[in-house]
Structure formats: structure tokens, C-alpha cells
Symmetry: D2
Subunit: 334 residues, 4 copies
């Protein structure tokens, strides 16, 4: 069988990451080209993997490309999805598709019209530990789900310039956790209550955002998920998921960077946790690409379909509204 | 120095527990007598420790009693506090003092008027692991507190007869967690948002209560505490506290019942956690009595003063209101 | 059914411990008296539990005593066993019976002649974690046993006066581990190879002993157990057992003193382990007395019979010989 | 600065692994060619990384090669080291150099005469967890070393054909642990006592080897290291190192394959450990190549010099002798 030829759109940090995984670490896929509006960036990444640098339009239209990976800035996602879908390409798009729901719907409609494979890049679903929590629910180990807890804390805040255009902590950062809540609990969210605070850096507040956020999600089945986010966990990238139900608990703890310890008069000393997502989620990106490759080749339902792209945006926007108004917000995911 | 002579009021499960600890395991304290409105209960416990069984009034008035431990049903606490305070006894009272705030205030006023030592039995404050979380905050290890998480789950629901008169999950069960949130975060609560659900047993709902509860507390300093309660964790008594701040995290995990493990083809297998509070908090009760004994002997501030008895009731009542109305409730603790 | 009346012989640290457990924490047993050649010691312990202090002979002969707990110095064990057995008492004896094998045999013969219940106090067999390792072997979870590892390290050396009369590290300290090896592996030992070193305190070497010891035991079934002992683990009482076999591994790890942790930029920080045997093995002593009480009441095989008292002495003496000669020593346990 | 051009000799499992790391994951190094006596193997690996396949002699002589990685069968190592050294290449050689000590010395002499960089591939020294144990000793955290324990167990035995030519478990498998013992304890070994057993598969015994092995090493400073090996740990690749000393303990535990757990009525359930060395030691190989690259570029002492290549062979041969004769064997490492 012929390998899927992947063109990567966007040669920044996340685009380079996807290019490397496709080029070196995804059986059944090959890197076909890299494009970026900033040509030297595309050329640098392309040279590293000995593939052509292209213009964005050229790559989307290329007969040598079977699938595109959209890793550009969020505001360009929808147009690129539409263009790629019309060109008959399989589409992998980084999260979020857009912070504008009608635009999201426009992108998803284009995908549906074209009948092309589509998957959104919620990589954490492919992390083995988080997935084991999901699997424990699906396999019945946890029983009926009653409660979930998600902590998601970055090691340090992004630049203020980034924060100003990010859409706010609830859509920029917590969107991953909204996806995770839906993924592991398996019941739609019907209400969102959110609190935001500025406890780390007043400049983040001046930029109109929060740096610390807490959300309570009520699911249709009565379960409640509690999520907390911080822009600064000084000890590393804190990523934990827990689901509690009628038969037990499943959880994904933080891994250690390695398994060495010391024990002295002062007690046990263990290691730090992984610094950030490149270390923590390396395996998830690999598995994400294997899942996308298998899906494009074999068909079947998308590993992360359009509906899963849309709902977290709905929840993120509702959380922002709740934090602003101080009242819970009822939502309809679909 | 003479030992403090303690009379125990109430000879049920918790009264027997306190009687045993005073009789056998508290240096500086001796058991002086046991009283119960049900005389045979008092006699059974008294006989076990070879001390006199008394009538309640008799014990409160006895010149051979320096301190009383009030372990009777909640509705009798206030009158017993008032009577004991007027009799000049040091007062140890099980939580909660009362679910009626004016009554709480009446009890605390009587204590203040009499100038007697007073401590409320929030035993979890004396658990070494939970206290280590509190100490990590006080000692500055955690830095400024931004977030806290508390899970508190019983192994199985109490009898429906108990639930009907309990005042509801927010004051009966979560009151401990409200106290813990205040204890570890160290900032008053200004808002309560609560969700209750009936996911374990519909009969609990028919009795007018919830069996699963989630609460978000906003503290005056901007920190948020998220608490979850379940009446039924089938794997045991799940009791965890975590505080996150500008310099790091402190947490109290579940202990194992013992440290034996197996590793087979199926992976690691560890032990269950302690079944319920008698196993989990045995050490906390011992330390609680040492703290009360030291406080009565040496003076100084109460280890758990009247203000700490009142605030959790305020929060529990507010949580009940929030769960009923669906809206956040502003509170003033003091 | 009438409670077993226990007389404790020896009112030192370990005698007091047993007296307390019998008096307060062993259903079906009561403390009947305490004796010690040093009468004030016996009186102090007896007063604490409101039982009579007796002379040693008096206690052994007393019609009010059903069982004796021999907690005196090792050199007196054999004569006391013989006397108690002849007096028809059930006998609990602290380890070791004697360092002189003919004397051990004399004691066991007296017990056999009298037909009285007999158990030797290898308390670690009753530790829930170590016992879970034994049970995993017996229950087939581990499969055929191939290897075992035991680490046993004290927090600090005993006084030199004690070391001089102790019989040496292999019989004084490692005897517990020889018993544990036999208990968890379940196959007799046929060869002992031992190394001793003086690495902690030269005065221990001057006293004719080692402070650090390593032993390799070969079992009849081909399995090998490796044991290490140190007189000084500065971080606490390090007690670990592991068995490896054809189907997996069972292990008993060190418990934490409590389950609180912190995580900061410097990484995870956990607690110290228990300081010494009173903290670490408190539960084992409780269970040991329950086992002895059940055995005396119900009959059946002894929880730790005479043969288990003898074999560790054989191994300890062989280890001492191996360490002196530098050659492995073949042994016959029985 | 120009990248170091590496030619890989041997295109089997371990040669392919090294080729991949050099080609894709070692800054400062590039893959220059691959050679194998079996040309199709060399061609397959070379094609994968788009480099030339060469004959062995051609690669060793090539002016386009700065360094060779010797990954061929053990019996060819010495001649290739000599040839590469004479050709002025930096030499990386897989362990062991040879099981014949005069041949080892001949190889090391050729390296010394040529003055070329030389490093032997004891990759476990570069595992972050094991290295943290070494570092804790070097940094003084452990104090003076008194005891060490190493468990090293494969998931399943190699083919009998391999075992027959392997030199036996002590040189084929435990050689890594002899190196680790020297690495973490930091004192030469002066005595070896070894036990071998056939407990897994009688066919291994028929092939003249053991499948289970236990060794006690005595170091010059009085410390003792206990090592156990099994050819079959059904639960995965069990690799643990522990050092105990005057100030505490440092240990390298088994990592989990991921951090997901479940807790049910049956207790905690964790994951399996990594299956074998490719999973467990992936990071160590990466770091090994960075260390070799830095060393060749910057000079200074070899990360794993010739003396460290020789001593484990001495210990492995002595262990084999001890297991055969039943007596401890004195050794001189140098």
C-alpha cells in the first residue's frame, strides 16, 4: 500500500513537531512538503527533512499531497480547512478550529460536503495514561461516572503578546481540558460555572485575561467535572485526570522524568515532573499520527471528529461568559 | 501536675472512641466518667474502662470532672455546652455544634462568658498528612495559595434514618471539608457554588438529600477550593487534600493499608486504602486529645476555636442553598 | 469462653510492650501479672495495668496464669521454657530461644513432653505487608520461587555493652531475616555464604562484631535469598522483603510515616520512614498476640513452632562461621 | 564545526538502533555509511537512512568516516578495533570487547598506540535514573558506600543457539551489572562469589548455562554488592539499582510504561513495566551518543574507557569460575 503523503502547513513550533513525527516516526506516512507564509521558516523545516518548501496555496493544491496538517495560527484554520477539503485532501487541524462558532460550522460543513477525512489535534486523547482513564470508563471498570477532576497547569505563562490574541485562558488553555472532560466522562455538558483570577502576574489581568481558572461542568448524566488551570506551576507541567464512579476510580498521574530517588535523614526525594508538553506528550503526538494515518487508510469514524472540535469551543466560550457574569451558563453542545 | 479528668457525654460509637483514647492513650488526661441518656450504654463503656457511669447532669456538675467531651447527638450539643461552660468545665465538642447559627452563637457566647477552654472536634486537622499540607502553607513552602482540591468520599452511605435527620450532605459530611479548606488555604470564604446529585441510591433523593456533591469555594484572597463528596467509594475511605500555590504543591494522599505489592503479567497490584474513619484517622484522634490536653493545661489559643466551629456551618448552609437555587451564594464567615 | 490469662516474664522494653498489648488490645486475653528479677521494674509495669507484680517463680507456678510470655534476657529463656512447660503453661517466647543449639533442643523437648502450646516471637511474620509476600507465594501468585531479597537495617547501633553479649550481628539481628527467608521462600536452606564488615563504628569491630553484613542463602529448591543488614540506616528502620518467581514478584516496601508530600522546583519530597520497630511493627505485635490467643484456644499447629525457632539459629551460627572462614557453609536445618 | 561522520559496522538489531540514533537524534554527528558481512542487511539499513552501504574494510578505510561504531558479533570486535584504530578512527564498541582477556588487552593496546578516542557501549551508565544513583554517590548524598543491590532480569530467555555461544549468563548478561556495580560503588572489586541455577528451562542447563544467577561482590573499601539475574521476568524488563551508605540511599526503580492507575474494590492496579531494553533504555542510547560525540569533539577522558571495558570481563569470568567450583574467587581488576 502506498504511504500517505502529508503536507504540513505552518512551520512554527507545533508545525515542526508534526513534520518531524511524520518524516521519521509514522509508519505509513511520509512528509511531502512544508509551507509557511514566512518562506524562510518553511525552507528551514523542509531542508531538515529533505522535502520541498512550498507556498501555502501550492501545497494545498499539490497532486503529491494526500493530506494536510494545518498548524498555522488559529485565525487561518477555517479558510485552510475549506480550501483543503475542496482540494480533496484529508485534513488534520490543530485545535481549536476557530473561536468563532459560525466559522467552525462553515469549516465542518466544507469537510462534510467534500467527504474528506477530518481529525482535530486533541493530542492528549492519545496520551497512554489519559487514554487508560478513558478506557477504564468504556470498559466498565469505573462503572457509572459520578465525578471527574482535571488539573492542567503550565510551567510558565506565555508572552503577553500571545495572551492578548489568545481568546483567553478558557479557550486557549482549558479547551484541552473541556475536550478531556467530554472524552473521559462520556456524557455531554449541560452547564458551566467558571471562576477566573489574576494571582500570578497583574500584567495578564491588564491584558484582559486570567492566569488562574476553575470550572465546574455539569454533565447530562448528573456527573460533575471540576477543572483547574494555572499558567504557572513552578514545578513543571502538571497534567492529571481522574474519573470516579460506582465501581471505582481511574486516574492519570504525573510521570516522573526518571525513576531515581534518594532517601536521607530529610526523607524521600524524587524527581521533577516533565517540564512542558514536548516532554510530557511526545508519545501522544506519535500515537495521534498513527491514528490519523490508520483512519485515512482504513476509513471508519474519525478518531477526533468535527463534533469534538466544536463542543470544547462552546464550553470555552460559556466559561468565559460565566467568569464575567458570575452566573452558571446552560449550554447545548451540539 | 495533676491529670485532667475528662467526663465523656454520649456513649455511642464516637463517644466510646474518645473514652478509650482518654483512658488509654492520652498522657496527662484520665477518664473520670461516662454518661448517656441511655444508661446501659454508659454503663457498658464505663465498665470497660473501670470508671463510674453517671447521669448526664451529674457528670456535668461533678467536682471530679475538669473537662467534658460532648459526643451526644447534634441537637443536644448547644445545651450541653452552655451547661458545661456554666459549670466551669473545659469543653471539647464534636462537630457540628449545631446546624442553627443562632444556637451556635448562643453556645459560643456561653463559653466566652464562662471563660472556659473550648475546642471543637475537627479531628482531621490533627491527621499528620493533612496537617503537613497546612504546615507547608504556613511555612511558605507552597507560597501564595492559588488553588485547593479536596476529595472526601465515604465507603458506603449511612442508614436512611440517619440521612433524614442529618441536615443534608453539605452540613453532615462536607462540613469537615469546609473546615479543611479554611484550615489549609488560610483565607476566609466569600462565595459558595454547589451542585448536588443523586447517583448512588434514589432512596437518598427521596429522603430529600443528595449522595454526590461538588462545591467551588472562592476565598477572599482569590484562591478557589474545589471539593467533592460521595457517599459511596467502593474502594474505601478516599480522603485527599491538595494545595497549589506560587512556589509549589502540598498534598495528602490516601495511605495504603499496608505496603505489600505484587507485580505479574497483569502489572502492579497494590493494596486497598483504609476502609473508614476509624482506621484512617486513628492517629488524628490521638493527636486531637493531646492537643486538647496541652491547651487546657497550658492555656493559649484553642487548637480549634469557636470561630472555626461556626464558619463551616455557614458554608454548609450556603452550599445547600446554592444547590437548591442553582446560583452562587455570597457568604460572610464571621 | 474464658479469657486466656497471660503472665509476662521480663519487664523491660519488649516485656512492657507485650504487657500493654495483652492488657489493652488482645480480645480473648487478659494480663494476669508481671514478673522480673528486678522487682521495681515488674512493679512499675504491673501498676500501669493494675495487675499483680510477682516473683518469676511465683508467676510460673500461679494457678491464675494460663500462658507465659518470656521476654527476659536470652540466656534465661531455656530454663524458663522448661519450667513453664512443666507447670503446664502455654508458652510464648521471644526470639531467639538460645544461641546454643543443644539448649534449644532441650527447651523444645520439654515443650513436646509437656504437650503445651508453644510459639516463638518472630513478630515480623505477622506484619501485614511481609505476610502478603508470604501469602502471594502460598497462593501461587508468584509461581515457583527463584530469588528473594531482604534488606533489614536499623536506625542506629545498640550500645557496645549490648553488642558484646549479643552473639554477633548474624544471630542477634539477622536471625529475623533468616526466619523471614524461610517464611517467604518456603524451602529449607542448604548453604550459607556470609560477609561481615565494620564500616560504621570501629568500636563495634573492637567488640568482635560486624556492623554491616551480607548473606547469600541457597535453598533446597535452588532458589537464592540475598540478605543485607546494617546497624545504621540514618533515614530510619529500613525493612524490605521481595520474592521473585516464575509468575511474578511480591514485595513488601517501607511504609511512609504519613502520606503527605510536597512538590516544588526541587522535585518531590516525601516523608521519612518509621524510625524503629515500635512504630514499624506495632501492628505485627497486635496480630502476633491474636494468633497466639487463637492457637491456645483452638489448638492446631503453632503459628511459629519450635522448628522455626531452631532453624534461624542454625543459619545464624553458620553465617558467623562463613564470615570468619571466608568459605560457604553447608547446613542442615532440622 | 564539522559534524562527526559515523560509520556503523554491523546491521543487526543493535547496529540498526545506533544507526538510527546517529542519523536522526545526535546533534553533531551524521551517519556516513553502514557495513555488514551480510550485504543485504547493510543495504536495508543504509537505504532507510539514505547513506551508502559499504563493505566492512571499505568503511573502516573510508576517508569519509571519522568514527566507527562496532556492532558486530563479539568474536569480531577485537580485530575491528585494531583495524579502526590503525586507520585513525575514533572507536565506539559494543560490550563486551571480547571474552578473552589477552584479546581485550591487544585491542586496548592498539587503541593506545593509535591515540584514538575509544569508548565501550555500556549504555546503562547513561540511563538518567541509574546515573542519578551514581551522581548521588559522587555528590556525597549517600556518604560512604556500604552496600549495593542490583536486580537485572530479562523478560524471556534468548534462543538456545544464542545461549550456546554467549559465553554464559555471567559474561553475556551480568556483565552489564558488573559494570554498574563498579560505576555506582566507585571501588574496585576484590572478590566474587557466584551461584547459578537452572530454574526456568532445563534446555538452558543442557546448553551448559544457568538461567538464574546470584553474585556477591566484595569491594576494596569493604562494601558488598549483591546482584541477581533472571532470564525470565514474566512482568517485563526488571532493572533496579540501589546504593546504601553512611548518609542515605539512592535507588533507581523500574519506570511504569505510563502513569495511569485504577482503584477498585480489589485495590490499586498500576501498569506493567517496560517490556525490554529498547523501551527501557531508549534515552540511554541517545545520551550515550551525545557523550561519545562530545568526547570525540572536545577530548578529555573517555566516558567509558578501556579499563571499564576490561574489568567486567574479569568479574564475569571469575563469577563463572565461582559458580562452577562453589568457592569465592579473589580478583584483581586491573
Amino acid at each position: 500500500m502506498t504511504d500517505m503523503r502529508v503536507g504540513v502547513l505552518g512551520a512554527g513550533r507545533i508545525g515542526s513537531l508534526h513534520a518531524r513525527i511524520v518524516a521519521e516516526d509514522t509508519p505509513g506516512a511520509v512528509l511531502a512538503g512544508v509551507a509557511d507564509v514566512h518562506a524562510p521558516s518553511a525552507e528551514a523545516v523542509a531542508a531538515r527533512f529533505r522535502v520541498p518548501a512550498m507556498a501555502v496555496d501550492e501545497l494545498v493544491a499539490s497532486p503529491n499531497v494526500d493530506a494536510v496538517a494545518i498548524c498555522t495560527s488559529t485565525d487561518t484554520h477555517v479558510d485552510l480547512i475549506v480550501a483543503a477539503a475542496r482540494a480533496g485532501k484529508a485534513v488534520f487541524c490543530e485545535k481549536p478550529i476557530s473561536l468563532d462558532l459560525p466559522a467552525v460550522d462553515r469549516a465542518l460543513a466544507a469537510v462534510a460536503d467534500a467527504g474528506v477525512p477530518f481529525m482535530v489535534g486533541f493530542n492528549r486523547r492519545f496520551d497512554p495514561a489519559h487514554r487508560s482513564v478513558h478506557d477504564a470508563v468504556v470498559d466498565g471498570v469505573v462503572g457509572d461516572v459520578h465525578l471527574a477532576r482535571i488539573s492542567s497547569r503550565d510551567p510558565s505563562p506565555p508572552p503577553l503578546d500571545y495572551i492578548r490574541v489568545s481568546g483567553g485562558i478558557f479557550v486557549d488553555m482549558m479547551i484541552h481540558d473541556f475536550d478531556m472532560a467530554r472524552f473521559v466522562v462520556g456524557s455531554p455538558v449541560v452547564e458551566v460555572y467558571a471562576k477566573g483570577a489574576v494571582l500570578i502576574d497583574p500584567a495578564i489581568g491588564d491584558a484582559g485575561d486570567f492566569d488562574t481558572a476553575s470550572v465546574m461542568l455539569t454533565h447530562a448524566n448528573g456527573a460533575v467535572t471540576m477543572i483547574d488551570n494555572s499558567r504557572q506551576a513552578v514545578y513543571g507541567y502538571d497534567q492529571r485526570v481522574e474519573v470516579f464512579g460506582s465501581l471505582g476510580l481511574a486516574a492519570s498521574e504525573n510521570p516522573d522524568v526518571h525513576s531515581g530517588i534518594t532517601i536521607t535523614r530529610e526523607g524521600l526525594r524524587g524527581q521533577v515532573i516533565p517540564h512542558f508538553f514536548l516532554e510530557r506528550y511526545a508519545e501522544s503526538y506519535r500515537r495521534e499520527w498513527r491514528a490519523f494515518t490508520d483512519y485515512v487508510r482504513d476509513g471508519g469514524p474519525s478518531p477526533v471528529p468535527g463534533s469534538d472540535a466544536r463542543a470544547p469551543v462552546v464550553l470555552g466560550l460559556a466559561a468565559g461568559e460565566s467568569a464575567r457574569t458570575g452566573a452558571p451558563v446552560r449550554v447545548t453542545e451540539g
